[in-house]
Symmetry: C2
Subunit: 145 residues, 2 copies
């Protein structure tokens, strides 16, 4: 598979997530994969994503930067969303959040075999803090993110 | 510049950092760049890296995963180091730490024009917490990172 093919394949994977066709992950994810160093089944991986979507119904995976080689993909995903329930250990407050995820994937035979993901947790914390402060004081925060 | 050329160029940039030839950054970084959305001069960028090296004298930039296109680079850097002074807002305790950075670069005319970096701060927090707890109780922690 060329790097162009793998980029196309990864964009199809994101479409699968954004169109909530999670059962189609069988075409994009190995039966077993490594996620941040932990071995899990595809079903467990699917359940993780399903839980994120339940907590954040308007979650859209938007690839701001995408680079592919013949067997790896790196993506800077940017999320503009309004979480409704606890996610990543955060309690949402009904406000819109914007944050990034920097994620690397290793593919084997066209399907994801390993994922290394970092999420911009400080950005989420700062936005929740700013909007909670604004709500409690009634004064707009100067912080802009 | 091909993606192979850009990968070679980026590896030379890492060598420059690892060999502490920071004045050579002029060959790899634009006069002005964007760093996590903030505009800064190359001198300010160099000062940031110099401060990291002062705090962590054994800091080595080790590319675990590296992907290049014609104008972008994505790298998962893994650090195995022993910070000596405060860094990223953390107070080190003399113990060895292992953590990752996921960083994207946009190059223009062969030099870095923009950087988007996320550091695995939760891993640093967990390791500091575990080793501080071990020191205070005298019992080895079960956490391994």
């Amino acid at each position: 598979m060329t790097s162009a093919d793998l980029e196309t394949r990864y964009r199809s994977y994101l479409d699968t997530l954004n169109e909530r066709r999670l059962d189609d992950l069988v075409h994009y994810v190995q039966d077993e994969l490594s996620y941040n160093g932990e071995t899990m089944t595809r079903r467990q991986y699917q359940d993780l994503i399903a839980a994120d979507i339940t907590a954040i119904p308007d979650l859209i995976f938007d690839a701001e930067i995408l680079i592919a080689s013949v067997d790896h993909v790196a993506c800077r995903l940017v999320f503009n969303c309004t979480p409704q329930h606890e996610f990543l250990g955060f309690s949402p407050n009904g406000e819109r959040l914007c944050f990034a995820e920097h994620v690397f994937y290793r593919f084997r035979d066209g399907r994801i075999a390993a994922v290394w993901s970092l999420i911009d947790r400080p950005a989420i914390e700062a936005q929740l803090r700013a909007s909670n402060k604004m709500a409690s004081t009634g004064v707009a925060s100067k912080e802009s993110i």
